[in-house]
């Protein structure tokens, strides 16, 4: 959708329920997919997705265009909703440097023995620290620009590049079998 059309649609959605419905239809798949990539549980992903869109509805009148796609705002809400969920479970855990979020994904060692290369490497991404994982998912699964990821994560572009670099490096180191296969 061209930027000007999206901005027009968002402005209409501030007053027009049907326009909000169009936004919902457009962004539901990627927000649900992103939510699922963070929580790895269908029911939780549904809860997070619901929360994201209800929060967006409640706050859309305050949304102002910042030079980034509307989806950036939704991704931000999603990240906050996921963080809120885990705070609720575990208290104020240090998500920034925490080892990794609870995941139902199989351990990397188990995954490596499986033949599916895609599943292996994405399971490995599930084990990355939170910010690295978010940056990796946004870049490699959601095809976001680095500047947009920086906006979503509230970091500088340089910091996002560092996260991506560290993420890729860590994948290389933590997946020796995969690395051997690749190089």
């Amino acid at each position: 959708m061209p930027e000007f059309e999206e901005r027009d649609l968002v402005e209409r959605a501030k007053q027009d329920p049907d326009a909000f419905g169009v936004l919902y239809d457009r962004y539901f798949p990627q927000i649900y997919r992103f939510a699922y990539s963070r929580v790895r549980d269908q029911s939780l992903a549904e809860d997070v997705t619901s929360e994201v869109f209800f929060k967006a509805l409640r706050n859309i009148k305050r949304y102002t265009y910042s030079g980034h796609p509307f989806s950036s705002w939704l991704y931000q809400i999603t990240l906050n909703a996921v963080a809120d969920h885990y705070r609720g479970l575990h208290g104020e855990v240090d998500l920034e440097e925490g080892a990794s979020l609870p995941s139902t994904a199989p351990a990397v060692v188990d995954e490596v023995v499986r033949r599916d290369r895609s599943r292996r490497i994405w399971a490995a991404i599930d084990q990355l620290p939170r910010q690295q994982r978010a940056a990796m998912v946004l870049k490699f699964n959601e095809d976001r620009k680095i500047e947009e990821i920086a906006h979503i994560l509230g970091k500088s572009s340089g910091a996002v590049k560092l996260l991506l670099h560290r993420g890729v490096e860590r994948l290389r180191k933590e997946l020796p079998q995969l690395e051997a296969e690749l190089t």
Binding site: D25, D143, K145
Partner: protein, 775 residues
């Protein structure tokens, strides 16, 4: 590293690049998704949005300005905006007369844009007797459905798409009444317990973005790329094609979630399951999906590469069989196998092609084959085909074939002739009017040819360095969509182009990109299905809305005038309505030809145009048929139709008809018809199918096929004589098609009261509509 300069810049180490390349080419599996969750959440959100956004909005109920340019699209909002949303508190009795359970129907009640191909989701706030509730559902107009429970949501899946522009009611009949407690004293008279009332939820289906009207009011050449939406993650739909009813036939990897899939576990109400278990080695299934990408049902387990019959009721597809064989079968849209026609070694790599309603072409072992629905192979066809394309005309038994010895058009009718096409002809596409378009690749460009199947001419050539492919005709046959690709690898230029039939006015369709390909116009012209490549090289199917130009024709200008007139009438503004009448029109209303503001005690609630036709007698004059609804409490109670003659102020043909002012000059009205008393006609369409015409009559209900015949639906000439006609019926689309050969003039369509729905309810009153056949 594919097309991502950011990653190119960030990762220079080959080992890092290898990991990045792997990441970019190996997306995670699509997350599991309850196919009804999207609709369920949408319903809740829209309820909340209407409560919060609409209440705070500063504008009135009608969100559009009344400029002429916006009137045409605003008509839909007029129709929608007047349905009053009422709060709904619906309670059903529990199994034993215990606490009542609420049906949270606010998201559906009086909704006015319910999709015709979407499941209807009704959430409940507490436990209910699911079997009893499901059995209590009655839908009017009569509609056969499959019911499933997903958690506390009752999901009602129409067996066929709902009719557009139609008010539906979903009625929950009262369940078991609480058992009356025996009176402790027989002398004390007990107050009778009032019988519970049926619970009724009303909603209205969407209006097709392109009104079913006679061209030239709708011009596909004038549409613009609107909003796009991804049907599903890349890799989860392998092929997709439209059905004539605007749903999508898709080949999906086996194991996808959706109603009827082996992984669906939430249903407690038995539902029809597709025929037969999948073959052991099946890797794909054929699914029916809505245009929003909602999986509706598996049609062919182990199937691939489906093709919809032109009538829409059947599909053909390949289904894997034991021993690395594949069957060519025919299924209905419930997934019931109708016939197995052919068994081949290996699975073909292309979809079969329907030739009319009763024959199918396919390629096997490098030869073209044609088989009828009894499995009888046509003889005398000796044509070698390797990778070439096949395409069948929708208007005649002709098949364009890219053969190994050249491209030809085979006439599979009585003549059996073969016409050799220009050397190199490929990429065939037939229009709804029987025109054939194809490409002829040149060294550095591509030529586009268009013709009537007999003679062809080159109408356009791509710019040097661009190659064209993937032709798709607009449903009105006035334009073509195609994909363009830079052959020099520069990736410059838009990738979808809209071109007029005569090759003029190539226009980018969609934002500049190199990611789009394989456009397919939906049958109603409102959506374009296409593929979009992501940076990882994956390919996902998307749809984009094709937004019609608001005032690209005189007919649309006339429609805009009618919209203004109707808006004033619905508003009860007599003065504004009269301002749209000329002297003759005003006199007609004053003489009682029709009621300007509605009969006493009711008001007009909504309307939609049914037909727009050149009047045939005056230049720049149109006959616009409108259906006008009267309602109470937000519920449509009855409707009648007006035939409005709309004329330009200047009777001279104008070089710029869109600049003309139109007024209503004459009116005739049908009697009022009560809704909820049998099936009704939703729309009438005349399609030129040389040498004759088809009159297509859409109904709102599932009909008894045996009641649709040339005795019950007729076309009469100006003298009242019944015209010879052949009537066919497509139950899946509630569509009766009358094939006739009419000379220019005015005729009358008559639908008698002998037509009945599946519940035996007859059309309440005879339905008449004028048909104007122009030159």
């Amino acid at each position: 590293m594919m097309n991502d300069p950011e990653l190119e810049e960030l990762f220079s180490d080959p080992a890092d690049r290898a990991v990045v390349d792997l990441l970019k080419t190996s997306r995670p599996a699509a997350p599991p998704l309850d196919p009804h969750f999207h609709n369920y959440l949408r319903a809740r959100l829209m309820t909340e949005a209407r409560r919060t956004l609409a209440a705070r909005a500063s504008h009135g109920w009608f969100p559009f300005s009344l400029s002429l340019k916006t009137l045409a699209p605003a008509m839909a909002a007029v129709a929608a905006g007047f349905l009053v949303v009422v709060g709904v508190e619906i309670y059903l009795h529990g199994q034993t007369g215990g606490p009542q359970v609420a049906c949270d129907c606010a998201g559906l009640t009086n909704k006015t844009n319910v999709g015709t191909g979407e499941p209807i989701v009704i959430p409940f706030t507490g436990p209910v007797d699911k079997t009893a509730v499901a059995e209590s559902v009655v839908i009017e107009p009569a509609t056969s459905v499959t019911k499933q429970w997903v958690g506390q949501n009752l999901v009602i899946i129409p067996d066929h798409p709902l009719a557009p522009n139609t008010s539906y009611s979903v009625t929950f009949k009262p369940l078991a009444k609480p058992t009356p407690t025996p009176a402790p004293n027989p002398l004390v008279r007990q107050t009778p317990t009032p019988a519970p009332s049926p619970v009724v939820v009303h909603f209205t289906t969407v209006r097709p973005p392109v009104t079913p009207i006679v061209p030239p009011s709708y011009k596909s050449a004038s549409v613009a790329y609107g909003y796009d939406s991804r049907l599903a993650d890349s890799g989860t739909i392998l092929s997709a094609t439209w059905t004539p009813a605007g749903q999508i036939l898709a080949t999906r990897p086996a194991g996808q979630h959706g109603p009827g899939s082996p992984s669906a576990t939430a249903s407690t109400t038995p539902s029809p399951t597709p025929a037969g278990p999948p073959a052991l080695t099946a890797t794909t299934d054929v699914w029916l999906m809505s245009s929003l990408g909602t999986p509706i049902r598996i049609l062919v387990p182990g199937g691939s590469l489906p093709a919809a019959a032109p009538s829409g009721g059947l599909i053909a597809a390949w289904q894997i069989a034991a021993g690395n064989q594949a069957n060519l079968g025919v299924w209905d849209l419930q997934g019931v196998l109708q016939a197995t026609l052919v068994t081949l070694s290996g699975v073909p790599d292309r979809a079969p092609v329907w030739i009319g309603q009763d024959r199918i072409a396919y390629v096997a072992q490098g030869r073209l084959h044609v088989v009828d629905l009894r499995g009888t192979q046509a003889s005398g066809i000796a044509l070698g085909v390797q990778q070439g394309r096949l395409a069948a005309s929708p208007t005649s038994p002709r098949l364009a074939v890219e053969g190994t010895d050249g491209s030809v058009v085979l006439d599979l009718g009585t003549t059996g002739s073969t016409r050799l096409l220009t050397t190199g002809a490929s990429g065939f596409a037939w229009s709804s009017k029987g025109d054939l378009a194809f490409f002829v690749p040149q060294r550095a460009s591509t030529d586009l040819y268009v013709g009537d199947g007999q003679s062809f001419q080159k109408v356009a050539t791509s710019p040097v360095g661009q190659s064209w492919s993937d032709l798709s005709w607009g449903p009105d046959a006035t334009s073509l969509l195609l994909a363009t690709t830079a052959t020099n690898g520069s990736g410059v230029g838009p990738s979808l182009l809209l071109v007029n039939r005569d090759g003029t006015n190539p226009t980018a369709f969609g934002p500049p990109s190199t990611e789009y390909a394989s456009p397919q116009w939906s049958p109603s012209g409102d959506l374009v299905l296409f593929t979009r490549r992501d940076e990882a090289g994956g390919r996902a199917f998307w749809t984009a809305t094709a937004t019609p130009s608001a005032n690209d024709s005189a007919a649309n200008q006339a429609l805009a005038e009618v919209a203004k007139f109707m808006l004033a009438r619905i508003n009860g503004d007599g003065a504004a309505a009269q301002a749209e009448l000329d002297d003759a029109g005003l006199a007609a209303y004053q003489a009682g030809a029709s009621s300007l503001l509605g009969p006493a005690g009711s008001h007009f609630s909504r309307y939609y145009p049914v037909t727009v036709q050149p009047s045939g007698s005056k230049p720049n004059a149109f006959l616009v048929g409108v259906r006008i609804f009267s309602g109470k409490n937000g519920v449509d109670m009855s409707f009648f139709e007006e035939q409005l003659t709309v004329v330009a102020l200047s009777q001279q043909l104008s070089p710029a008809p869109q600049a003309q002012r139109y007024l209503i000059d004459a009116v005739s009205a049908s009697p009022a018809m009560l809704l909820g008393h049998g099936p009704t006609v939703v729309s009438v369409e005349v399609v030129q199918t040389p040498p004759g015409q088809q009159v297509r009559v859409h109904f709102d209900a599932d009909l008894k096929p045996e009641t649709v015949s040339s005795d019950t639906i007729q076309v009469k000439d100006a003298d009242g004589r019944v015209v010879d006609a052949h009537v066919s019926f497509d139950a899946d689309n509630h569509l009766a098609t009358i094939a006739v050969k009419l000379r220019p003039g005015t005729y009358q369509l008559v639908v008698t009261t002998s037509v009945t729905d599946i519940n035996g309810n007859a059309v309440a009153q005879e339905y008449d509509a004028p048909l104007v056949i122009g030159r």
